[in-house]
Symmetry: C2
Subunit: 492 residues, 2 copies
Amino acid sequence: MSFLRTLLKPSYTNNLNSKTHFPFSPSSSLLHTFLKNYSTSEKYGGLGPTKPEEKPRVVVLGSGWAGCRMIKDIDTKVYDIICVSPRNHMVFTPLLASTCVGTLEFRSVAEPIARIQPAISEQPGSSYFLANCTNVDPKDHLVHCETVTDGAKSLDPWKFKLSYDKLIIASGAEASTFGINGVHEHAIFLREVHHAQEIRRKLLLNLMLSDIPGIAEEEKKRLLHCVVVGGGPTGVEFSGELSDFILKDVHQRYAHVKDYIHVTLIEANEILSSFDDRLRHYAVNQLTKSGVRLVRGVVKDVQPDKLILSDGSEVPYGLLVWSTGVGPSTFVKNLGFPKSPGGRIGIDDWLRVPSVEDVYAIGDCAGFLESTGRQVLPALAQVAERQGKYVARLLNRVAKAGGGHANSTKDVDIGEPFVYRHLGSMATIGSYKALVDIRQSKDAKGLSLKGFPSWFIWRSAYLTRVISWRNRFYVAINWLTTLLVGRDISRI
Amino acid sequence: MSFLRTLLKPSYTNNLNSKTHFPFSPSSSLLHTFLKNYSTSEKYGGLGPTKPEEKPRVVVLGSGWAGCRMIKDIDTKVYDIICVSPRNHMVFTPLLASTCVGTLEFRSVAEPIARIQPAISEQPGSSYFLANCTNVDPKDHLVHCETVTDGAKSLDPWKFKLSYDKLIIASGAEASTFGINGVHEHAIFLREVHHAQEIRRKLLLNLMLSDIPGIAEEEKKRLLHCVVVGGGPTGVEFSGELSDFILKDVHQRYAHVKDYIHVTLIEANEILSSFDDRLRHYAVNQLTKSGVRLVRGVVKDVQPDKLILSDGSEVPYGLLVWSTGVGPSTFVKNLGFPKSPGGRIGIDDWLRVPSVEDVYAIGDCAGFLESTGRQVLPALAQVAERQGKYVARLLNRVAKAGGGHANSTKDVDIGEPFVYRHLGSMATIGSYKALVDIRQSKDAKGLSLKGFPSWFIWRSAYLTRVISWRNRFYVAINWLTTLLVGRDISRI
C-alpha cells in the first residue's frame, strides 16, 4: 500500500533532479490510471487510509484559534497532522482592529501555521493544504476538499479527498448580517487580515479624495463619515482605534480635513452588553469624549453610500464596518450532523460529534447538544483556544492508549469531560484606556478594572499571548514606533 | 479673489462643527454656480491662479525619486507645493525586490509624501492630490487632473484643474514590453509596491498549490518555475533574492516541494551589461552557483502558463516577472512638447521644457533635447534624485530673486546648468554578495568591488539613503529578523 500512498501524494516522490532516492520512480501512466480509479473525476487525487503500522492521521479543518491551538499541542511523534484551511496563517484577532489604522503592521498579527507547528512543513506525513472542505463523509472517514485558487487565471480549482483517522472540525463561523440587504455588498467585516487591509485602503482613499478641490461639502462629509455597526468588543475597539487615529494622525497629517471626519457607532441595544454596568458607563463616556457618536438604532437597509435605520432616518457613510457577531457558516449548515441550539455542530461533553466515530468539533462552529444540559459557549477566542488544547490532549492520550487509528477508540479511556472557566473579558476603548472584567458570568461578583492600568494589562496580556517571539517582537516595535512617530499613512 | 479660492478649495472652509472661523460661510448655491462657470462640466473644480501677494504655487506631477526629492528640497516659506500622483508615497525601488520574498516588509520601503514634506499636510496652500494628470495647458498655466478612485464602487472619477506658477513634470516612465503579446496580461512588473505584493501572493499560492495531493508532476514543476525576463539590476536582484528564499526558507518551510522550485533568468544579451566585465562574470558564477538558470533568449510570445522564445522553444512558468527596462508613458507620448531621442520630454541644460514658460521635466520622463548636444541620461534613481534636487534649488533661487510667479523668470539669473556625475552602480546577487562599480562610464577606469564587502557597502549605502528614520529603523529590524528567524511566509 505504501507505494499507493506515494502515488497519491506525489509531493513526496522525487523528480529527476532530486537528491533523495525512493525504491522506485512512479511512471506517470500508472499515476494517471490510479487517479482515474480512485475517483470519479480525472482531476481527483488524495490521501488514502493509513495502514496500521503507520502513524494515524489527524485532519484539522480551519486555522483559527481552535484549530491552531490544537495543531500546536498535538503530539507529532504519534500523529501525522494535516491542516486544511483557506488561509495559511492564524489571525491574532484581538489585535486586528489596530492594523486598520496602522498602529500595527498586518504581518505582526498573522502567524503562519508552519511556525505554529513546524512538523507541518518538515515531516513527510504532515502538511498544510490551501483548500476548503466541501463535505465530510464520516462513514468512510473521508473529507472532500477543493483548492482555493484566489482567482489565479490559469488554475482550475482542484478537488481531492483525504482519509482521516481523527477529524477536527474547527472551521469557525460567519459574520451575521441578519438578512439585511446590502451588507455583503457595501459593508466591510473585520475578521480577516484582508478585511483590515480593505478598511485601511478605503479609509485612506476617502481621506485623500475628500481633499480634492471642487468637492461638494455634503460629499466630503459623507466620505469622511465612518460608521461602525455593532457595539460588541470588536466594534468598540475599532471605534476607539479610529478615534485615536483621527485625534492624533489625521489632525497632524490630514489637517485640511480634520474637522470633517467623524465616527458613529450604531448598536441596537447596549454597547459591550456582556460587561459590568460600571465599565459600560465608563466606556460610553470615554468614547463620547474622544468624539465617537453613539447611536441606538436598528439598520434596515444598506445602500452604496448610505444606510437606512428602522425609524426611516438615513445615515450617509464613506466607510461602513459591520461587526454584529457571528452565526453558523454555510458549510456547517450543510453538514448532516445534529445541531446545537443556534445551529452549530452539536457536540457532547468531550467535544465529540456523538452520532459518528472519530469526529470532534471545536471553536465557533461547535455547540453543546441540548441533551448535554450545557449552554452553548460564546464565540470567543478563549473558548476556542481552550477547546483546541483540550482535544489535542485527549487525542494524545488516546493514541498512547492505542486508539489513534480510525474506529479504535471504543475501549479507550478518554478522560474527563471539557470544562470551561471564563477568565474574564477585555476591550480597549482608545486613548490608552481599556476595560477588564474578570467575572465568571454577567451576574457574578468579581474584579473589574478600567482606564490606563487595564489598558496596560490588556497590552501586556496580548503581548504574551501572541504566539511566536517574532510577532511579539514586531508588535512591541510597532507600538513603540506608533508612540514615537505616529502611524504610517502610506496607502500601499 | 480670495473668497473664490476658498470656494475652489473647500477643504479649507469650515463646516458647522468647525472651531476655526472664516469671515463667511459659502452657500452651496454660490459654490455650484461658480463651479459651473469655471468649467464645462458640473463636476469640475480646481485651484485658480495665485495672486501677486500670495505665495507662488509649484505643482509637481509624480511621487517617484525625482518628484519626491524636489518636494523635499523646495522652500515652503516661498512656495506653496501641490503634488499630484496616483500614489501617496514614494517607493524605495532599490529594496523593492526584497519585499517580494519577505526579507523586508512592504511598508518599510514606502515613504509617505507627507513625511517627506510636512508642509503638504500642514500648510493651507500645500496639498497632495490622489489623481492622475491628464493634460497640460502651458499657455494658460493649467494642468487637468482626474482622481484615482481605485474601483471604489460609489465614486465617479472627479475632474479638476490646477493653475500653476511653476510646473515640474516628474511622472516617470512605463515598463517596456516591446509590443510582445501577453506581457501585460500574464507577467508581473516590479516597479510598485502592489507589484511586489502580487508577486509574493502568487509565489506563496504556487508553493501551496504544488503540495496538494494528486497534482501531476508536470503541473507541479510548472507552478514552481519562476521565470524572470530581463537581466538588468532589477531582474538580477530579484533572481538573487528568490534563490536566497528558496535555499533558506523554502528548504525549511516547504520541504515537501523544495526539489521542484527553480529560477530561470532570460536575457537577450548579457546580464548586467552596464557593469565591468569582471563583475559580470562573477555575477554569472554566483547566480549559477545558487541555482539560478541563466538562459540567453528572446521572448516572442507570452501565454497564460508558458512563454515562447524566438527559437520556438517553450518555457512553462508558474510565476513570470518582467523587468526589461522602461520607455515613455502614454501621458508623456500625448503631451505636445518636443521630444528627446527615445521619446522623452525634451529638456534644455537647466531641465526646462524650452518651448514654454515655467515648465520643468525631471527623472525618467525627461531627456536632453538633441540640440543641447548632451546624451539622454539613463533611467536611474540617482539621476532622478539629482535632478529633483537641482530643480528645487533653481526654483528656490528664482523665488528669492522675485521670479516665483508665472511668467516672471525672464530677467532672473537661474544659475549654472545641470551637471550629472555618475556615482557608480550597485547590484546584489543574493547570498550576501553584491557588485559595486564605481566608474564614470562603461569604458572608464575606476574601482569595482564584489562579494561580501560590497554587499555590506550596498546595505549600508541603502540604509542611510532610506529617507525617514522610521523606515531606516524598520529596514534594519526587518534585516535582523530575517537573519535570525527567516522570512515570513504568511500569505495575507
